[in-house]
Symmetry: C4
Subunit: 256 residues, 4 copies
């Protein structure tokens, strides 16, 4: 494992599948979205990617088994013979510049081999939002972009950079002759954000004509909202206590 | 794209062209100068350079299309059969030491292949200037340096380092048998600096016997001067408000 | 030495040995444990590992001789023909992500060549402990894990990352068909921790059915306890003196 | 220049020369010492080393010519047919771990080719010294170390690390069958330190039976002492002025 490698668990044949990527990043938007897709569609894992450019720690799973950081490829085949999906998520992105390029190239070469016709990447767009997060789209070409805009996403503000795999995969896809869309969903980015993931999934569902039950995400949104509320209250209490202590200290220093 | 590559869009034949480099750097002097040259001369793009050593983000253009960070080669052919120009600018320099050397070598090998006889690099020299920025020249050899000095540039203070592509390209050019000049124009370096770019372009125009209309840069200089004036006023207001708040806080802490 | 290399001092034949790794890390738990094993078992060095990914300094030993940073392999053969041991310790871990992978791969390839059937790695788990440190186990597979748990270690809390060689060696071992256990012993991690090492060694001794005299470690534990007590007193004195000086400064500033 | 390379200017034959290295480092001790040796012995340059692992800037010399960062090999042949010297100094050390190993290996391979029988590296040992700086020696082997100790150097405190080329060259020399000594001279390390360099040169002169006029270094020592005195006075003045301003500010804040 001195280079990035993909280990195939099952050899699946695809006819022009769409690859949807959601790796860790701002607000974990992509990861939350793609993991939800995997659960909802009961997608199956068929390949794993390992890289010496991931962080140098390993994880312990619930059974006490050690696993290297990895990215995972899942697949889902439509009943009606429409578009197959390849779903890509994982524990880590590459930690160095050169690593980011190597991992992205490895993914794209594999996608090419699997006849992938289009790539959708999902990420977060930092914003302290009120209300429903908006989704910004950018793409490899105007025609592909149009599809994303028709599905409810907005034009990305020009000039803004897209950091990491979500951008690099689309930037490099062009050179492989693969179309691609990057969807960035507004998120404060402090913690895993199911609201932002939901907005992105609604655009994806419409674009791909997928029937998707998002009720599970709504429950997750409520859970996160409760945690945020708890944190807000703790912060308030902390601020009050600090103010009291500060005044106390001042009084003492006038005496002492 | 696991190594730095140059992708040729159009194969152009040159007879001993001069390559002028202006990549992002202090005060964006080189980039502003070369971009202005490209616009004024209506130069045409003929090649792009991509590198896994650039930063790992991508950019979104005005049409919402994602583009990898890249360097770009433009060309301009003189009507009178004199010197052809190759103009090199771009979004990024390499982000690591080894990357800087790899990108510079790739550019020089391509320059060699295109029969480039001389390279001029343009950069900034940090100084809080009053009046017209001066231009400091250094070169691969005394003869080449003399031409730059005769065109109105000054001798560089010895011992001063030149960081990044502007210096490395000239330092490495010697080993390829290509002459080179580095022009550093004085700039405070806080924002893109058309004044510094203008000074550099005046030296270049004289050296290469180019007729160059610099009125467009003058308009840019005025625009930047207005922004600087605005920023200065904002800063003044901010300082006053801060002073007021500080005194207010002190008063309160004596009471509270 | 432009790549990681292992230099064999003596060619030893093993029949399914167990490799125990203890490299520098949190609380030096692994290193203290494996160094104690080497001393107690009078194990002999048979190989050294050097790597350009270790830190770029060298060490001076007691005779004034300069030595590169290195990892060292020792062996011990049981009298009764049971399990042979390979003991791995050293001065340094790799300093970069890619280096960590290269060094771990080099160790595993060598282990494979030496017919290693199982790997035990030893590290620290940060905790401000009172009483005997507990040992947490994780493994390549449930069966191997069971052996560690039966020997007195506890299940690792899921989701927690294991940084560096202790984790990476086990994570990568799976791909070589070698079983492995990672034992993390609780330690505050401020200084070399023989208490944590002792806990880990007790689990190892039970698992491997080793007779091990730990009295030497107990003396080390008492020595460290005395140092900690000294440091605690110094810290108390320092805090008192600082408080006195602070008050003095305040008084003076009201006068001055 | 994508790898470290040595460019030979003149092909010199040596019979078992001694290589003395003095690259930039703490207090510039090695560089000052070796540069002085080059000047005093009128040594001649015969090779240059370039590396993509040096910092990515270039230097401008007194004639305005741009030069890449480099290391330089000089030679001196004794009149009486005794030991020839190869003197190695330069602008930079490698900036990354892997670069340090690559550059050191390249130097050692070249040394081997030139029949170098021993290497002496010179560096600084941080200490706020009063009086003559002491020189600490360490070596590849006890016999070589003995020679350095007999020439007036002291045993190095064991366990202390030697950072960079001075240590790595000796650590790696062993693997090439070359003997080596590292001399570290006490220095505060704030600025180029001719006093520390002189102490090191006295040991080297005695070891190699070199006649060396150190009067030039004494003049340099006086010059640096004057600068240090000036800096000390400036610092005193600054401290006094700061104290005055501080009191003034306090008075004003009681009023304002």
């Amino acid at each position: 494992m001195r280079r990035t490698v993909i280990i195939e668990i099952e050899e699946i044949e695809f006819k022009n599948p769409v690859l949807i990527e959601g790796l860790p990043g701002l607000g974990m938007v992509g990861r939350v979205a793609v993991k939800y897709l995997i659960r909802q569609l009961k997608a199956k894992k068929f390949a794993e990617l390992y890289s010496p450019h991931f962080a140098y720690y390993v994880l312990i799973d619930r059974e006490g088994i050690i696993t290297l950081l990895k990215n995972e490829f899942y697949y889902w085949k439509s009943d009606h013979g429409d578009t197959d999906l390849i779903l890509l998520t994982g524990d880590s992105q590459a930690q160095t510049i050169e690593g980011q390029y190597e991992v992205a190239e490895t993914i794209l070469e594999y996608a090419k081999k699997k006849n992938v016709k289009a790539i959708i990447t999902v990420g977060g767009y930092r914003k302290d939002i009120v209300g429903t997060p908006q989704v910004f789209a950018s793409a490899t070409d105007p025609e592909t972009l149009k599809k994303a805009l028709e599905a409810g996403s907005l034009s990305s503000p020009p000039g803004s950079p897209i950091v990491g795999a979500a951008g690099l995969l689309i930037g490099l896809a062009k050179f492989k002759g693969i179309n691609g869309i990057c969807l960035l969903s507004e998120t404060p980015g402090y913690m895993p954000d199911p609201r932002a993931a939901k907005s992105a999934l609604m655009v994806i569902a419409k674009m791909l004509n997928l029937k998707l039950d998002l009720a599970g995400l709504d429950r997750e949104i409520e859970r996160i909202a409760r945690i945020e509320e708890e944190l807000r209250k703790m912060e308030e209490r902390r601020a009050i206590e600090e103010e009291i202590m500060r005044k106390e200290r001042e009084r003492l220093s006038y005496i002492g």
